[in-house]
């Protein structure tokens, strides 16, 4: 699917710009797009290094394991086959906690660390495991309690009640998460069936 989406974005875009006779802006966009990718990746290095360093201390001191043991029972059903005290569980829980608490910068490093640890459990290294997809679905639905950026935007725009959207946001994000996780379960089920 990702191949088709990628192809449609590129070829579709090029066809439309050909119809508009505007090849120059598109050429420009191609160049800036590739530059931006490197910018984004390099912009990450600092915050990633910080939290990966912290994660290493938390791992060596046993803090991560204690944290997983405490909270894993709540999420372990979502990730069958991952032992409750596996490092991947600790990283995933830290990622979710950081998202829920709105610790923007911290969630991604823990999420990527979790992916690396899930990769260790993954039998086929270039194919996503079902647990990875579940974890990613939780992240794209981005469960959070405080949409801090939006509240700041509303304050800046002069809202009389900037936080009134918190309730609706929690509702929408919860629905998105539940549906994404259920959809993953369905796909997992049918793929297993078609294999056996």
């Amino acid at each position: 699917m990702v191949n088709i989406v990628w192809l449609v974005l590129i070829v579709g875009g090029l066809v439309v710009s050909a119809l508009h006779h505007s090849m120059l802006p598109v050429t420009q966009a191609i160049v800036t797009g590739s530059e931006k990718a490197v910018e984004v990746a390099f912009g990450f290095i600092g915050i990633m290094a910080l939290w990966l360093g912290m994660a290493k201390i938390a791992e060596e001191s046993g803090l991560m394991r204690a944290f997983s043991r405490l909270l894993a029972p709540f999420v372990s059903r979502l990730f069958p086959g991952i032992p409750k005290d596996h490092p991947a569980m600790g990283s995933m829980l830290m990622n979710m906690a950081a998202n829920i608490l709105g610790m923007g910068g911290a969630a991604t490093p823990f999420g990527l660390k979790a992916m690396e640890q899930l990769q260790e459990l993954n039998p086929v290294k270039d194919v996503a495991s079902a647990n990875m997809i579940t974890f990613m679905a939780i992240n794209t639905a981005s469960i959070n309690l405080i949409p801090a950026t939006v509240i700041a935007l509303r304050v800046a725009a002069g809202s009389r009640n900037p936080t009134e959207i918190v309730g609706p946001t929690i509702f929408a994000t919860s629905v998105a998460s539940v549906v994404a996780i259920s959809a993953e379960r369905l796909f997992r089920h049918f793929q297993n069936r078609s294999k056996s």
Binding site: L50, A137, P168
Partner: protein, 177 residues
């Protein structure tokens, strides 16, 4: 309740940055050396995702700058209007999964143009806050471990996004209309 949550999120980062090393030190971990050892990985991880990011960002840039995205928005705004989505919010729904920066720009524009306490402003705020930039997250997470075959990951994430949008439109109609 909201004040409490805000206080927690304000304290979370400073608390962890202090607590993790302190706990480690009490457990006899060589905290600084261990920190540096872990931090080294940051660079490697960032570099590993570059090819994946280049692929997705170039494709998205082409689609956006060519006007193809505008055509899709134009095409969909009539039927979506029927379903209770005001036309000005349609671009946001389509852009939200594709580009975090562009979505933020659209939301900011809507809040200023229609007012944050209008129906459009409230719906835009809810949509902006309730989901993440799906394409980017998928690229980043699988790119960081160099996984090329993501199976049904993208479709699952997009189903989640669609559900989130429907839920946002529904709840805003219930509460704010």
């Amino acid at each position: 309740m909201i004040a409490l949550i805000e206080t927690i999120s304000e304290w979370a980062i400073p608390f962890l940055i202090g607590f993790i090393p302190l706990y480690g030190w009490l457990k006899g971990v060589k905290v600084y050396e261990t920190f540096v050892e872990g931090a080294e990985e940051g660079f490697r991880m960032a570099v590993r995702m570059i090819p994946f990011l280049v692929g997705i960002l170039v494709a998205l840039n082409i689609f956006e700058s060519s006007g193809a995205l505008d055509s899709v928005i134009h095409f969909l705004s009539k039927p979506l209007d029927y379903l209770g989505v005001p036309a000005p919010v349609v671009p946001l729904l389509l852009v939200r999964p594709l580009s975090g920066g562009a979505a933020l720009g659209i939301t900011t524009g809507l809040l200023h143009h229609y007012g944050p306490d209008s129906f459009v402003g409230r719906l835009a705020s809810t949509v902006q806050g309730s989901t993440d930039t799906t394409f980017y997250v998928v690229t980043l997470y699988f790119g960081s471990v160099a996984i090329k075959k993501i199976r049904y990951a993208l479709i699952v994430a997009l189903i989640g996004d669609a559900a989130g949008f429907i839920a946002a439109v529904f709840i805003c109609h219930q509460l704010f209309h």
